[in-house]
Structure formats: structure tokens, C-alpha cells
């Protein structure tokens, strides 16, 4: 149809592909650190692609800004969570993670 639709038709399936890669990596990879790597990287990239694909379709520029803010927050939360889990697993001093 239009250029915007074409753009979304490329980025949305690509984003879904990255999400699927993250899920399969989480299920199949052998140890905790590789699974952490698959989870955080693939998912954040997939979400970024999805948000790029959705940006032309929101109603106002403010909503677009909110989408970008969501992506930045997810990046921050993913990095924090991955760092915490990896540190506790590496030192073995987590209370719940034995």
C-alpha cells in the first residue's frame, strides 16, 4: 500500500523472529549465563524493531515519544535484571537462587 505499511511489514515480522529466537534460546541453551544472554539481547532487539514498526501508526507524536520511552525503560530493566541474576549466580550468594 504505502511506504509506511511496507516498512511495518518488514520490521514487525523481523521483531517477532527475534522474540522467537529469544524463546527458543531460553529453552535450548545449556547453562544459566548463555540463557541470560539469549533472553536479554534478543528480546530487547525484537522489541526495538516492533516499536520502530509501530511508530508510523500512532495517533500523535506524544504517543510515539511514549513508545520510545517504553523501549528505553525495557533496556534499563533488562540490563539491571540480567546483571543482578548473573552476579548472584556467579558468586553463589543469592538467598533464593542457591
Amino acid at each position: 500500500m504505502t511506504a509506511a505499511f511496507l516498512f511495518s511489514a518488514i520490521t514487525l515480522p523481523l521483531g517477532c523472529l527475534f522474540f522467537a529466537a529469544g524463546s527458543i534460546g531460553l529453552l535450548r541453551l545449556p547453562d544459566l549465563f548463555t540463557r541470560l544472554h539469549a533472553l536479554t539481547k534478543a528480546d530487547n532487539l525484537g522489541l526495538g524493531l516492533l516499536i520502530c514498526g509501530l511508530l508510523p501508526w500512532v495517533e500523535s507524536p506524544w504517543q510515539g515519544l511514549k513508545l520510545v520511552l517504553i523501549w528505553l525503560l525495557v533496556l534499563l530493566a533488562g540490563a539491571t535484571g540480567a546483571h543482578l541474576v548473573a552476579k548472584r549466580a556467579l558468586r553463589g550468594d543469592g538467598e533464593d537462587l542457591q
Partner: protein
Amino acid sequence: MRTLALLAALALLASMSLGLIQVLRGPGAADRMMGVQLLGTSGIGVLLLLAVAIEQPALIDVALIFALLAAVAAAALTRRRLQEPPE
């Protein structure tokens, strides 16, 4: 565009269900935590796609809350072991 967004949301939901297996099965608590994190990130994706697909812009705010609270559960789980209390 609405059909495309809905199809993408369906694919994402399938991927989420795969991640759910990890939450159900995962041997350690860390594996379950990672499964929950995956659910959170994919859930944000599904919500954003739904916001376009069923034309409800308010769902973007729900996704924002998901993103804000994603780190809370991870931080709550990864508390460091304190010194053992005396008997």
C-alpha cells in the same frame, strides 16, 4: 495494518507460550525468573501491537507500567544472603 499487527501479536503470543514452558519446568529459581522476564518483555510487545490492532491507545500506558515494574520482581528475587541470625 490492523490485520498485520494482529498477526504479529499472535506470533508473539506463541513465542510467549514457549517461554512459559521455561517458567513451568525451570529447575532453579533463576530460570523461572528469566521466564517471567521474557513474559514481561513479550507482554509489552503484545500490548503495543494490540493498541494499534484494536485501536485503544490507552494500552500504551499499560505497557509503560509493565516496563516500569519489570525490574521490581528481578530485584526482589536477587537479594543477597544476609548474615545468618544467631540461634
